[in-house]
Amino acid sequence: MLPAKSMFAKSYHLSQEAIALYVDALKLSKIDQLPEELLIHVADCERCKTEITELFSLLDEQKYSREEVHPYFDKGVGEKTRRSWQAYRIAAILALGIGFGAIFYYLAVVKVEQSTMIPAQASKRDEVSKEGTSVAEKKPERAEQPAKELFAGNFIESPNLEDLVNNELRSSEIQVLSPLNGAVVGKRLQFEWRGDSKGPFVLQLLTNTDKVLVSRTVSEPRLVLGIQLTPGLYYWKLESAGELSYVGKFFVK
């Protein structure tokens, strides 16, 4: 919409087009839609009133249809129509976007979560006897709660170390006095053995995930560790003269 100022000529009276616009307003009964400045000026200006009246009289018998869109009075209608179409388009795009987003979320997140759920019966490899060449792998059931899962995991056997536990090593002359294989130990952790070897010995304490918790070099065939272990399965290695002499395991409950 043009500003009202542009409707005035340099003479401070209505421009030719503003006079035509006023006549349009009279013909279409839309005076109230004219700019207030225009109306106020004309109300007080004899010259502009005369021009408008003269032009109106010339067009007295001309029909002006209110159905036809006027470039000034119905400009808002056209714009509103255009704006509402734009709004519909934006709404449609948003709706499509939300729809696709929801589908994507369902497929990508919900479906994946369902597929990663481990079934109650885990898959197993064939279990071999104690003298056997392979070790059975057991995959524990996934606990419903993460805390339970973690606790159970502490007791999972280490495939590497289990092999060593079950195999006879060079040091068949070493006789372990404490802890016995598979024993459940208390708070006091005492390692003791006897054998032909004089020492020094390297003793390592490991978790079931092969993580070395303690590594000590001792000259005597015993070691007492004053550490508090969380419940789980643990392994210990004994080396002498650079060679692995013994691998054992015990439980802490």
């Binding site: 043009l2 542009s6 409707m7 030719q16 087009e17 503003a18 006079i19 035509a20 616009l21 006549v23 349009d24 009279l26 013909k27 005076i31 109306l39 106020i40 004309v42 109300a43 004899e46 009133k49 005369t50 021009e51 408008i52 009246t53 003269e54 032009l55 109106f56 009289s57 010339l58 067009l59 007295d60 018998e61 001309q62 002006y64 036809e68 869109v69 006027h70 470039p71 000034y72």
Partner: protein, 251 residues
Amino acid sequence: MTENDKDVELLRTNPQQLIVKYQIMVEIIAKKYVASGMFAASDLDDVVQSVNESLLTKLPAVQRLYNGTALLKTYLSGIIRNVCLKLYHRNMQGVKTVQLDESIHSDPDGLTDTQLIDHAVSRFRVIIDLFHSQKPRLLFCLKLYFRVPIAVQDIRSLYPQCTSTDLGRFLGPFRGNYERMNEYEIYETVTPIMNKYEGKSNSADALRKWTNSKIQEIILILNGNPPRFNFDKETLQILVEDHFSPFLEKQ
């Protein structure tokens, strides 16, 4: 595409064709000015030809100045009118101004009495509308000036917040026939009440002068530019009474 859109497109692409399209409008306006006495009837063709030649030279200016606010047909009509006026002023010496009543009988394209009256009524109503916010006050003062009985609607449209007491004060002396009241009495009665609702302190004489100046203005505009009619206060009274006839209360 509206009719106006087509005209605008024609103005841009083929303005000469636009003039051809509006030949009818050129002839209608030229005939009206011939009928009003601005031009002799025998000069009609010359007037049309001169207008067309002038329009052709003005086309570049029209293309530049028209900004699409008003309908192009109205805008062009205004330009055609201005061209006719210039032509009239240029040829004034050679043109006899014919009295309105003579032109009616001598020119077959002129207006009949009924058409003249309708035309005058239409012009008067347009002029009153052009006063915009002053219209209710103007109509009230015109009624008082021409001693037309005042109706409740007159006061309500002028002062919607008017109390029933003041309504009675307005209507009391002016409801019926008050032709015997002089100007002084009339304005002395209404001015205090009008000042109350307008928040002003005008004198009765100021209201009288204002009313007279508006009447003069209306008559001037009714008579046209250039003056083609002979309206005066008497003929204006007829128009005012005709305008208010639906509002006159039965006595």
